[in-house]
């Protein structure tokens, strides 16, 4: 198979903590990203359990008002900015240079810089909890609630939130530029754009979104900081500002950010489905165009978060929002027809990938309800929206992330994760996820608003809330087999070999884990599946 018999001298890796702190190797940085993101995933998860515990039964039992607001603000902020986005960047970091046959990212030291801004930003965000209260105006931090201390009980937490997000945003911009240069300039000979793995395509489009949209968020953050600390009047109507301006700028970033959070996960799924069905991806080019289409349309739908403000031109944003369903649907059908008539091996990565398909489908379809503006008048800011966003970001991105973990763990460590524990985790998380978030559709329809710590016991929301809380704890419990799996498999897992899955792309042409310079030798690249070609000598093409 691949020519990796000559393992380089082990001394190429300096051992120990110093190496991890100073590394510029994209693979180590990728692993740092993944580990750091998982730490924040667990922190954000604990915050979510706090929310679900309070809401389990009516009445205020544990947290109320200010503390409750901090819980959901920090939960959202953490999961979006410190878990999903960096987690996907981490996989991109590890996999993209390998998949394009490059020795490293284009700017290895900038790569290290982008990573180290993340834990720093995260610490700033969480510092609020010990300096008198973390940010509590929601992850969206709508002005003027987020503006000054008399309107909401927001102490230094809100300022720390602004500083933390500015750092994380800067990291994102640098990372985006790094990926763009790497993908455009460092591809191996023969790897034309239309032979790139779909994951590389999705990272490419994501990077464009990051580079174009994140500076807009940064400007909004700086304006908010000036308003809060130096008497600016950008967003406070009491002093001549415009409250709605914040929403326009914030969502101009944060809607494309939804695609930053889901496109690379789609890319990972698109790597996994063909491998485990032993077929090429159905409609490769259509897939590329759909990805680009989502990226482009993603910039014209931000105001669908603002339908109930009465201050946006509704028909335009409604139409654009509906239209984004088209390229998403194209992807869905291409994925299904990749499986169609394949020979499916249900290893854990494929289980999570199919979980992604079936759950993301619901997250896409329930999004169409909100695109119908008058229906959105009923659903906006209710638990329906919470259900929708979690079906996209948890049912979509998080399932994609776990598919990726099970798929690339052998490459990263040289050992396989245990299949039994993996399947156990999948069943637990799949049931827990649906038990948590499906009832939220009904809660939203019944009129339960988001972001409330309590509800009337006669409102008819008791059973569904209790179900959601039980589901939340089941999701948390599903992390036990996962962590145990990682813990034991890292040392004692089955030896993976170069290519345990009989995969298609270049990262499987080198050793597991790869040497610091990645490749001793690259196979010829004549299609988007160079390893398949190598294995089958061009048959089936």
């Amino acid at each position: 198979m691949a020519t990796t018999a000559l393992t380089p001298a082990a001394s190429a890796y300096r051992s120990g903590l110093y190496e991890w702190l100073t590394t510029t190797d994209h693979k180590k940085i990728g692993i740092l990203y993944v580990v750091n993101s998982f730490i924040f995933f667990f922190l954000g998860g604990i915050l979510a359990l706090g929310i679900r515990t309070e809401l389990a039964i009516p009445g205020v039992q544990f947290v109320d008002g200010e503390v409750y607001n901090q819980l959901f603000t920090m939960h959202g902020t953490t999961m979006i900015f410190l878990f999903i986005i960096p987690m996907l960047v981490g996989f991109g970091n590890y996999v993209v240079p390998l998949q394009i046959g490059a020795p490293d990212m284009a700017f290895p030291r900038i790569n290290a810089l982008s990573f180290w801004m993340l834990p720093l930003g995260g610490i700033l965000l969480f510092l609020g909890f010990i300096t008198g209260g973390a940010a509590s105006a929601g992850w969206t931090s709508y002005a003027p609630l987020s503006e000054d201390r008399t309107l909401a009980s927001v102490g230094s937490g809100q300022d720390l939130w602004i500083m933390g997000l500015t750092l994380i945003g800067t990291s994102s911009i640098l990372g985006g530029i790094n990926f763009l240069v790497t993908i455009f300039k460092m591809r191996a000979p023969g790897l034309t754009l239309f032979r790139m793995p779909i994951l590389v395509w999705t990272v490419l489009v994501t990077s464009i979104l990051q580079v174009l949209a994140t500076p807009v968020l940064t400007s909004a953050l700086i304006m908010l900081f000036i308003d809060r600390n130096y008497g600016g009047h950008f967003f406070d109507p009491a002093t001549g500002g415009t409250a709605i301006l914040w929403q326009n700028i914030f969502w101009f970033y944060s809607h494309p950010a939804v695609y930053i959070m889901v496109l690379p996960a789609m890319g990972m799924i698109s790597e996994i489905l063909p491998v485990f069905s032993r077929k090429p991806l159905f409609g490769y080019k259509a897939f590329v165009f759909a990805t680009a289409g989502i990226g482009a349309l993603g910039f014209s739908v931000w105001a669908h978060h603002m339908f109930t403000t009465g201050l946006v031109f509704l028909p335009f944003f409604s139409l654009m929002t509906f239209l984004i369903a088209v390229p998403t649907g194209v992807k869905m059908f291409n994925w299904i027809f990749t499986l169609w008539r394949g020979k499916l091996t249900f290893s854990t990565p494929l289980l999570f990938a199919v979980g992604f398909l079936s759950m993301f489908l619901l997250g896409g379809i329930n999004g169409a309800f909100s695109a119908a503006v008058p229906v959105d008048f009923a659903l906006q800011d209710t638990y329906w929206v919470v259900a929708h966003l979690h079906y996209v970001l948890f049912g979509g991105s998080v399932f994609g992330v776990f598919a990726g973990v099970y798929y690339w763990f052998p490459k990263m460590t040289g050992r396989m994760l245990d299949e039994g524990l993996g399947k156990l985790q999948f069943v637990m998380i799949f049931i827990g996820f649906n038990l948590t978030f499906f009832p939220m559709h009904q809660l939203g329809l019944a009129g339960m608003p988001r972001r409330i710590a309590d509800y009337a016991s006669n409102a008819g929301w008791n059973d569904l809330n209790l179900a959601a809380t039980i589901g939340g704890f089941l999701i948390a419990a599903s992390m036990i087999p996962f962590l145990w799996n990682v813990f034991i498999s890292r040392r004692n897992g089955k030896i993976a070999g170069d290519d345990p899955w009989q995969a298609n792309t270049l990262e499987w042409a080198t050793s597991s884990p790869p040497p610091p310079y990645n490749f001793d030798h690259l196979p010829e690249i004549r299609s988007e599946r160079p390893l398949f070609d190598l294995r089958h000598r061009g048959t089936g093409h």
Binding site: R149, P237, T309, A325, G329, A378
Partner: protein, 382 residues
């Protein structure tokens, strides 16, 4: 090649079948036991306004199309997954299909047609819901401040900043809330003095943000059959620590009853002059002296609903505001509603001693002037 994971007996397929069967059995049992209620839970509440009926019609169209697509595609996924499992020991490659242009065209064009259809029906409904009657039967301005609703009834055709005929300050209860004539059209202005709130009544299937610096407006036509009913409303946009307590009620009255209520309110307003805004009220009270009355404000509530003190003697209100970042104060009103003591408001957590009195014997009302509907009690002076 030899280490292919597919050669093992496929425990995945067993799990897939178990999950699929468990889901089907669970859903089937739920439907059989509780069918109509389960179906109803996927729809919004029965609408109570003309606009709400239009929205429900649209919801039903979107729901029907969405459900059809969901079951079709989800069924396709489940069937594919169950049908095309690799048999143990089967090492032959399946046909290597790279794509199909006609298929791509079909699943691009058909969804495009569907979304254009959905867009046009929602646009039509939107025009219907957003329409403003040229001559509404009633004009009301709903004011949403942290964390309280009040409703100002305005003269016909008045601009949003017009002087109200009368104001209902309590957001809930028989004497509070938004009282409207059933079967008639009310035009609402929305106004906020502080942060963004949202006017939301689930049974109207409608919400609209209340944005400081902007006056939003919409029409509301209650069904004639609503007379006598009360609907629960709630702020739907995060507005701070007290967001969840920002409730209000909408009372629907038959037109004749509404007229009686309306005339009563007008007479009441004419009898007592409009109170001066709190800033202009005479600040009273001197340095703290006399016996101290303890009063705590927490979660936008006073800890006591009854206080008492001696007549004709100064006293001190030891006021502990424990709501971080929220302003509270204590005002004392006589039986006629006139302010006899006006404490200055301040944000918590903080403690202040208000020097008040002396007051004549009698029964007074004390309240927080910022949250009068939620924070009030009786002061007995004897």
């Amino acid at each position: 090649m030899s280490s292919s994971p597919g050669t093992r007996p496929s425990s995945g397929s067993i799990i897939a079948w178990i999950v699929a069967i468990a889901v089907l059995v669970g859903l089937g049992a739920l439907l059989i036991l509780n069918g109509p209620q389960v179906v109803a839970s996927f729809f919004p509440p029965e609408p109570k306004t003309a606009q709400g009926h239009a929205i429900l019609d649209l919801y039903t169209i979107v729901f029907a199309i969405a459900a059809a697509i969901f079951f079709l595609v989800e069924g396709l996924i489940v069937w594919t997954v169950l049908r095309y499992r690799r048999k143990p020991g089967d090492d032959e490659l399946p046909p290597q299909t790279h794509g199909h242009n006609l298929a791509e065209v079909i699943w691009t064009v058909v969804p495009t047609i569907i979304v254009f259809f959905l867009f046009f029906v929602s646009w039509q409904t939107l025009n219907n819901v957003e329409a403003h009657a040229p001559k509404p039967d009633l004009l009301v301005k709903a004011v949403a401040g942290q964390f309280q609703w009040s409703f100002q009834y305005l003269p016909a055709d008045a601009p949003p900043d017009a002087k109200p005929l009368f104001t209902v300050t309590a957001p809930v209860g028989p004497d509070g809330g938004l009282t409207l004539p059933a079967g008639k059209t009310t035009h609402l202005y929305l106004s906020s003095p502080d942060v963004i709130h949202a006017f939301y009544v689930p049974q109207f299937l409608f919400k609209r943000d209340v944005i400081p610096g902007v006056v939003n407006q919409f029409d509301l036509t209650l069904d004639a059959s609503d007379a006598g009913q009360t609907f629960r409303g709630q702020c739907a946009e995060l507005c701070g620590t007290g967001h969840r307590i920002m409730l209000f009620e909408v009372h629907a009255l038959a037109p004749t009853e509404f007229d009686t209520w309306y005339q009563g309110k007008l007479t009441e307003a004419a009898a007592s002059p409009t109170p001066a805004p709190s800033g202009g009220a005479p600040a009273s009270g001197g340095p703290p002296a006399g016996p101290a009355l303890d009063l705590v404000a927490q979660n936008v509530k006073f800890d006591k609903s009854d206080l008492s003190t001696a007549a004709d003697a100064p006293f001190t209100i030891h006021f502990d505001n424990r709501d971080a970042g929220i302003n509270h104060d204590v005002d004392i009103l006589d039986a006629g509603g006139a302010k006899v003591f006006d404490g200055k408001d301040f944000p918590g957590p903080a403690v202040q001693d208000y020097g008040a009195g002396p007051l004549k014997a009698g029964t007074y009302k004390f309240e927080c002037s910022i949250h009068p509907a939620l924070m009030f009690g009786t002061l007995t002076v004897q």
